[in-house]
Symmetry: C2
Subunit: 197 residues, 2 copies
DNA sequence: TTCTTGTACGAACGTTCGTGCGTGAAATGG
DNA sequence: CCATTTCACGCACGAACGTTCGTACAAGAA
């Protein structure tokens, strides 16, 4: 065999499971042998799809990104730019975390904490994804202010930072303490930072 | 040999290094062989201090907790209970993260994210440590309100949740994006939530 | 001195890791 | 129908993992 298997459906099935495992045990704890056994494949057969563990990790990040976009971002783009879209982004994110779209909570919260001090291509891919998400929230906040939906003295970058902080904290607390009320706290915090609808 | 070595100084040296490695590579990525090589010890010699990897992980958590108390909590207890103590706790935490007391940023941010979906004694120890920290912040916030240093309509539990969120977010952003300004954002956010000094 | 105790060591255990290679079955196309 | 390609497999590899074991050596007690 010179190339890689072309069966995109099998590939996606593998990567979907990989993202679930990684959200629980980390991208390093995601082992090829265990993933193959889980899916009823041979280790070497699964390995052939990716060619290296790092490539599997990068492909898993791409799949997780696509799922995140489908679950959180795309549905929010249906709303007009500005405050209503910002609200949707926050609500969708909290729902995405709360519904455990990934078995171990937010995939990126887990992967970012794992790789934030380990240089390499995996970290680079994760920082890019995080930057895109932050940029989306920040720009949407800017739009909301430009439309007069936020007080003129609002600092959009600062507000976006604080809103993201609430989301992350809810995800972390709900996982570590089995405490679903953390999501209520985050919603309360976010609503208090935004004008009453 | 029936028991474990009694050399507490060597043990603490090992555990201090272990906490640094774990803050970067995780408590699972912390391997006995690598730790021993790092310190110029034999693998079996180091192993003898703990008897199992899980015991090493638990001892590392205890050491990290002691360091955290020294760096963040104890200096804040010098201030009178209430708002001034709360401010010190927040400032000390941000300084502790910013100064990289642990090489990979906040030890607990890293370890919590790693083990929040893996049942066992390690997770239990981490949830206890996190609960103690949250309780301290929450109770200090309660005291501040009881002394009239916070508006009467303040919800102390909610405020503590939000303040912790800012700390976590600053640590995460500074690590993932090499962005030291995240600490400034967190200080701004925290100050805005508290009465002007 | 001899015996005991505590400590660190090297070597090896079995397991799992990521990674290659060669083979055979299934699918494809002329 | 046969030739070719595609793909998943079994198997093996070297390295690293946590762990166990027997040993060497220093210090103290008898």
């Amino acid at each position: 065999m010179v190339g890689r298997p072309q069966n995109d459906q099998a590939r996606q099935t593998i990567l979907r499971r990989a993202a679930d495992i990684a959200s629980q045990d980390g991208l390093e704890g995601l082992s090829i042998g265990r993933l193959a056994t889980d899916l009823g494949l041979s280790k070497s057969g699964l390995f052939g799809y990716f060619g290296s563990k790092e490539e599997l990790q990068l492909a898993t990040i791409r799949t997780a990104t696509a799922i995140f976009l489908d679950e959180v971002v795309k549905p929010a783009l249906a709303a007009p730019p500005g405050l209503s879209r910002l609200r949707l982004l926050l609500d969708n994110w909290l729902s995405y975390s709360e519904r455990r779209v990934f078995a171990g909570g937010c995939f990126f919260a887990s992967a970012n904490a794992e790789f934030d001090a380990r240089p390499g291509r995996v970290r680079d891919a994760l920082t890019t994804a995080a930057r895109d998400w932050n940029r989306l929230l920040t720009e949407t906040t800017h739009e909301a202010r430009a439309r007069g939906e936020l007080p003129a003295e609002t600092d959009p970058d600062q507000l976006a930072f604080e809103l993201v902080a609430f989301l992350q904290a809810a995800n972390a607390a709900s996982l570590l303490h089995d405490d679903p009320t953390a999501y209520h706290r985050a919603r309360t915090a976010a609503h208090a930072r935004l004008p009453t609808p």
